[in-house]
Structures are given as structure tokens and as C-alpha cells.
């Protein structure tokens, strides 16, 4: 069964769920709720990133581009009058095609080549978005994007969006867990740990890496779709190379390979810049130094620190 969830984890999960559900009751500020909504969306994207990078070991700076592709596809489609229900499917199609275009030629590349290629891919997508002004609104982005609406019903207001997004996050986590405890999940981790041994054990490592990449892209694309429909405003800045780096650091700080770590990292690094806004430009300086510090001192991220504190706690790896 779910080996990753030993019975001792249930109280912690229940507690987290209770806290998550109680938040809108405690914090009434719409701005805070919107920030949390963005954090939840980022968490879904980072869980997606975890498949390819945390588990399969493929460095991927293109995740922000997939996020953006999903968002822009949805925004353009709904503004063009298409019913919302179509947009998740459209986003997935666009993102799958893009991930194949990027993934197929690059799965064999080594680490720094893969890093550069994915950065390059992200840049090309961003440039395409920025310069296709009539459709994408260029650098100003798109406003007044229609919201989620299925047969005329949809969440109204930040709080309802919050609950919807929490539910979506739950689904994202569940699927990730199922993948982890399947042939595919084990194959991904085996590929990262020793590609040769994995191959000799019957794992098609190229196909595994590509699948991890694609699933991750789908997560990002769907998150982008929800982003466009919940936040209702998008611009190329939210999906730039800087964002790609940010997503990667969320993964690292939370703990690569740990699903819970993805969520923690995403929430932490979405809230932190807002909470530390008074630092101005110094925030980014400290952020950079912080990343270096985490990598040097605790490369397993917060998840590894947590598992040292409570060695019997089930790691949602």
C-alpha cells in the first residue's frame, strides 16, 4: 500500500489540513489570501518540477515556461470567448507539445548542457510571448481574464478560490504519491541514482526521463491555467527566467525529492518576499546568500532537517 504514509504521519497530515482550512477564517485580508493562492499554485508547479528534477535528476529551468504557456493559453482562449471548461485540456495539449519539443532532443544531455538548454528554451518562450503583442499583450500582459466557470458556476472571491486551490493541491499531492509508489516513480529515482544499474534492471531510462519531464510540464500547465483564471491578470514577468530559478530554489530549500518539501518550499518562498518587503533590494541579496547557505549547509533542504528531528516521521518522498 502507500508505504510512504506510515500511520504516524496521519496526525501531522490532519493537523496541516486543519490549519490550511482554517486560514481564511483567521486571515480576512484579501491580499493575504491572494498571496496564499499564488503560493498554492506555485506549490503545484514545484511538485511538477520534482518529478523531473527531484526524482529523475534532470535539471529543468524550463518549468516557468510551461507555467506561462498554460496561463497564456487559458487567458487567450477565454478572452477569445471559449468556454472555460476547454482551457485545461488546451493547456495540457500545448504544454505536452512544448515539452516534447524540448525533451526529445535533450534527454541525453549532461547536466550543464541540460541547464543551458532549458534556460534557453525558457528565454525563447518568453521572447515569443513578449513580442506577439496583439495576442499576448506584450510586456503589459493580459488583464480582466474571465474566471473559472462551468455551466455558469464558479468560485467568487479569493476565499472560494482558496478552497478550490487547496483541493487541487490535495489532488496534485495524491497523484504524485501514487506515481512515487509505482513502477514509474521507482524507475525515475533509479535513473537518477544510477542510470547504468537502472538500465540493467530493465528500466528504459530515456523514456522514464521524458515521462517525468512531461508530467512535470502538465502540472505546470494546469497550474498556469488556474493561475490565469484565479488571479485574472498575467504578464511575462511571472514566468521569466528569474521565476524558473525561483522554482528551482523552492524545490531545493524544501528538499529535493520530498513532496511535502515542495509545498513548504513554495509557500515559504512565495510569502517571504512579501513579508520582507521592507528590505527592498536587499531581499534579493539575502535570498541569494540564503540559497548558497542552504546548499552548502543542508543540501537536503528543510525536509532532511525535519527527518533528523523526527526520525520515525514518514517522509513523503
Amino acid at each position: 500500500m502507500r508505504k510512504a504514509l506510515r500511520w504516524k504521519a496521519w496526525p501531522i497530515i490532519a493537523l496541516s489540513a486543519a490549519v490550511a482550512l482554517a486560514v481564511p477564517v483567521i486571515a480576512h485580508d484579501g491580499y493575504v489570501i491572494q498571496l496564499l493562492n499564488i503560493a498554492i499554485l506555485n506549490a503545484i508547479v514545484v511538485i511538477g518540477l520534482n518529478f523531473a528534477t527531484g526524482w529523475a535528476g534532470q535539471i529543468n529551468f524550463g518549468q516557468a515556461a510551461f507555467y506561462g504557456l498554460g496561463a497564456y493559453t487559458t487567458a487567450i482562449a477565454t478572452k477569445a470567448g471559449l468556454p472555460w471548461i476547454v482551457t485545461p485540456f488546451l493547456s495540457v495539449i500545448v504544454v505536452v507539445v512544448a515539452s516534447l519539443i524540448l525533451g526529445l532532443p535533450t534527454m541525453r544531455l549532461r547536466t550543464y548542457y541540460l541547464a543551458m538548454t532549458t534556460i534557453g528554451f525558457g528565454e525563447i518562450i518568453r521572447l515569443m510571448i513578449v513580442h506577439w503583442e496583439p495576442v499576448t499583450g506584450g510586456t503589459s500582459g493580459l488583464r480582466a481574464i474571465p474566471g473559472i466557470s462551468i455551466f455558469g458556476i464558479g468560485p467568487q472571491g479569493q476565499i472560494q478560490h482558496y478552497y478550490l486551490l487547496i483541493a487541487t493541491l490535495g489532488l496534485a499531492v495524491l497523484i504524485a504519491l501514487r506515481v512515487r509508489n509505482s513502477v514509474l516513480g521507482r524507475a525515475m529515482i533509479a535513473t537518477k541514482d544510477s542510470e547504468i544499474a537502472a538500465e540493467q534492471s530493465g528500466v528504459d531510462t530515456t523514456r522514464t526521463k521524458l515521462l517525468a519531464f512531461m508530467i512535470g510540464a502538465i502540472y505546470a500547465g494546469l497550474a498556469g491555467c488556474l493561475y490565469a483564471s484565479s488571479i485574472r491578470f498575467i504578464s511575462p514577468d511571472s514566468f521569466s527566467g528569474t521565476q524558473a530559478i525561483l522554482l528551482m530554489t523552492m524545490l531545493i530549500i524544501g528538499g529535493m525529492g520530498s513532496i511535502a518539501g515542495c509545498v513548504v518550499g513554495a509557500v515559504a518562498l512565495t510569502i517571504l518576499p512579501e513579508a520582507l518587503r521592507f528590505l527592498g533590494q536587499w531581499y534579493l541579496v539575502l535570498y541569494g546568500l540564503g540559497v548558497v547557505a542552504v546548499i552548502v549547509l543542508a543540501p537536503g533542504g528543510l525536509a532532511s532537517l525535519a527527518s533528523q528531528v523526527q526520525p520515525r516521521r514518514a517522509r513523503l518522498r
Binding site: R178, V179, V183, R186, A187, D193, E199, Q200, V203
Partner: protein, 226 residues
Amino acid sequence: MQAIIGPNGSGKTTLLNALSGASHADAGSIRIGGNEIFRLKPHRIARLGLARTFQTIRIFDNLSVIENVKVAAGCNMPTSLFNIIASNARQRQSEAAIDRNSREALEIVGLAGRANDHATQLPYAQQRLLEIARALASKPNVLLLDEPAAGMNMTESMTLLNTIARLKSSGITILLVEHNVRLVMGISDRVTVLDFGKKIAEGAPSEVQRNLLVIEAYLGRRHRHA
């Protein structure tokens, strides 16, 4: 059980690499049970029934002991992504079968008690056993063992070789590459000796032991290895 012995550098591991697809072979033909496997990708060869262990331990550090074994156990049980996400009956059946096969393999090498431990928690000798369990889990027809006793003390080596000898009775063809001649002689049916990449002797252990070329290869060297 066929053993391949030879001094260091004679090409034993290279041979295994060529057989299992890890290295590129220039020419020739390799067949398993009539199926040509030459130049196939390693994972295909593995799915056709060839499994191997490595000279330097290559276990999966980020998986538990049983998960290590499950990687190989699942090699011939393709599951679709849909089944995985839906976690339907088919998926659960498949996982149950993988779990069974994996535990069996762990039983054979005596690691069943440590199934849920992190692979890195195992001591060296048991990690070697884990590699063997993993190789067994794919239910191979041919098992290539590359110096499985390397780095073990006498007791551990004996236990290991007894385990391997027991495997013979299960019908698997075993190709054992070993550096230590004495360990090998008792359990092998046939021995091939390599030197500088060439076969210099082949036959029953007793014949090979008396072969002059073999003795010279092991003892008579005055010059350095290439």
C-alpha cells in the same frame, strides 16, 4: 554455472559489459535462447532475461531495500500512466505481484528482514547481496555476477557463494566473474580463463587448474599490465 577468471585487466568486466549492453561491442553475435541481443539497448536485454551485478556497488541510494529490488521486479510488467494515477484494481494487483516477487528475492539472499530499511543503511556485504536480489527479481534466465565477493571477508564470501550455488538448482544459467580462483573452483561446472582479452583456456575446473598457460598467466608474470 560458468566461471570466468583471469588476472586483473584481462577483460572480464569488459566482457560482461558487452554482454549486458553497457558497452558497445564492435562485432560479433550474442544470443540468449536463440534471440539475438547484439547491439540491443541494455534495458531490452534485461527484459529478455539477462541480469547482472556490478563490480562496484550500484544500488539505488534513494530507495529502500525492497524498492531497490522492485525496480527490477517491475521490468516486465508495464503499467500505463492512467492505471497509476487511477490506482485501480489492475494497478494494485500489479504492485502486489511486484511486492511478492521482490520479497521472494530478498528471502533467497537472506535480506527479507531489512526490506523497509534505507538501502544505504545496509553494511557493505549486504549491499552486495541486495544487488543479487535485485538481479534475481527480474526472473532472469541468465545471471552475470561481476566479482560479487569483492571486498568481503572469508565468512561473508562463503555465505555468498553458498547462496549462488543454491541458485544453480533453480535453473538459472550463471556466469560468474571472479578474481579469486579458489573460491570459484568448487562451485563451477565450467571455467573459462581470460588473459589480455583473449580466451586462453576453457573446460572443467580440474583441467583448467592444471593448464600451464593459466598458471603462467597468474603466477609467471614479470612484466606490468597494459
